[in-house]
Symmetry: C3
Subunit: 181 residues, 3 copies
Amino acid sequence: MTALTLITGGSRSGKSAFAQQMAERIHAPRLFLATCPHIDPEMDGRILRHQRDRQGKGWQTIEEPLRLADVLRCRPADEIVLVDCLTLWIGNLMHEAEQQGHEMSEDQIAAFAEELCRAACERRQRQGRVILVSNEVGLGIVPDNPASRRFRDLTGRCNQVVAAAADEVFLVCCGIPMQFK
Amino acid sequence: MTALTLITGGSRSGKSAFAQQMAERIHAPRLFLATCPHIDPEMDGRILRHQRDRQGKGWQTIEEPLRLADVLRCRPADEIVLVDCLTLWIGNLMHEAEQQGHEMSEDQIAAFAEELCRAACERRQRQGRVILVSNEVGLGIVPDNPASRRFRDLTGRCNQVVAAAADEVFLVCCGIPMQFK
Amino acid sequence: MTALTLITGGSRSGKSAFAQQMAERIHAPRLFLATCPHIDPEMDGRILRHQRDRQGKGWQTIEEPLRLADVLRCRPADEIVLVDCLTLWIGNLMHEAEQQGHEMSEDQIAAFAEELCRAACERRQRQGRVILVSNEVGLGIVPDNPASRRFRDLTGRCNQVVAAAADEVFLVCCGIPMQFK
C-alpha cells in the first residue's frame, strides 16, 4: 500500500495542482499542511491562490512552518495529508537555526527528513497517507551567494532522503507528471 | 493526427536542433517563426547561428515578436510552422505590457497561450502542423529580482497551458528527447 | 559492450554517489579522476566528503584539472575510470583560456569533448570503461553576467557532444537514476 508519495518539479510546473488532484481522487478526509510563512505580500498572494484552488473540495488547512513530523503523528489515522512544500520548510529550519546562532548542516537536514518520513510511514498501518511536495532548485547556475548554495545543498539532500523512503516519486514538468519511482 | 507539438528543455539542451530535425523529416513547406528581438550582439549571434543551421533546407523565416496566433492564421494550410521560442515571446509580451504602464498577469499570459494553441489546432483540419519550442526556467534557485520571478511564473504557466493542449510534449536533455506526453 | 556512460543531473541530486555505485558493481581496478581545483575551503569540503565516500572501496585517485584525454590514454587497459566532473573541467578550461588572453568558444569545447570521448571509446577494445559525471546548469533563469551565460552554453554543448557518443546516459533526480539513452 502506498503510504508516502513525493512530488517534485520546478517552480510553476504544476506540482501543487497535481498533488491536490491526487489527494482529491482518494475517498478520505483531507488535510493541507502549509509550511509557507507569511513574510511578504508576494507570498501572501501565492497562499491565497492555493487556498482558492482548494475551496469547496473538503480540505482542512493547518499552517506549520517547522514541526511537520509532530503534526503527522497527532492527526486522525485515516486522513490524507498533503504537505506543501518541503523547500519552504527547509528555509524555515535554516532561519530557525540561524536565529539560534548556528548554520544547519546537511546531516541535520537529513535527520529532520528521516524523522518526517518515519512519521509518514507510521501512518501506513492505519491506512493513512502522506503526499509531500518539493522543488528542484539545483539545475541552474551555481548561485553566487553562500546562503543560496547552502539552501540548494540542503534541498537536494532532503529530496534524496525522502525519495529513498517514498513509495512513489513524480517529477512534474509543464503540468505533466512523470513517475520515476 | 498530430497538430501541435511542444518541445521544451534547458538552455543549450539541443531543443531547437531537435525541433528543426522533426520539421525537416516532414514533407511540407516549412516556416520558421522567430520571436527573437534584435536587442544586442549576443542575441544577434544566436540568431545567425540558428539561421546557418537552417540554410539550404527549404525554410522560410518570419520574425514576429508578439502576434503569433495572427501569423498562424494567415499562413498556407499545408505548411509546417516552427515557433522558436515561447520564452522570448513571453519576454516581448512582458515588455509591451510594461511600455503600456501595466504588468502582465498569469491569467493574461494563459489567455495568450490559449489563443496561440487554438490557432495552432485550427490548422489540424487543413493538415497543418505547429511545433512550439519553449524553455524550462524554474529549476534553479528563486531569483532575487521580482521581474525574473514574474518571468519564471509566466513561463511556467504558459508551458502548462500549451502542454495541456499539445498532442505531444518532449523534454530535451543533452540533445536527447524524452517524450512525456 | 558499454564503454562510455554519461551521468548528469542537478546539484546534490546524487549523481556522484550513483556513479560510484555503478563503478563499484564492476569487478575491475577503479580510478577516480578528479577535476576539482583546490580553490577555496567550500570546494575542499566537497572534495573531502567525496573522498570519505570512496574510502576502503579500492579506489585510486588522480587529480587532473585539464588533460583528461591524456590521462585516459595512459591508464591500464582494464581499469574503470570515473571522471567527476565535466562542469569543473569546463570551468578549468575557461580559466586557462582566459589566462592566455582569449575566450573559449563553443566549437573549442566541442572539440575538447570529442577528444575526450575518442579517448574513452578507444578503451573499449581493451575492455576499459569510462563513466563521466556532468551537471545540468541550464534550467534556471538566464544569468545576468556574461561569464555565467558562456559557462552555461559551453556546458550544454559539451553535454550534447558526450551524450551523442555515450553508450548510455542517465539523469539523476532526488538520488534516482532515469536512463534516457
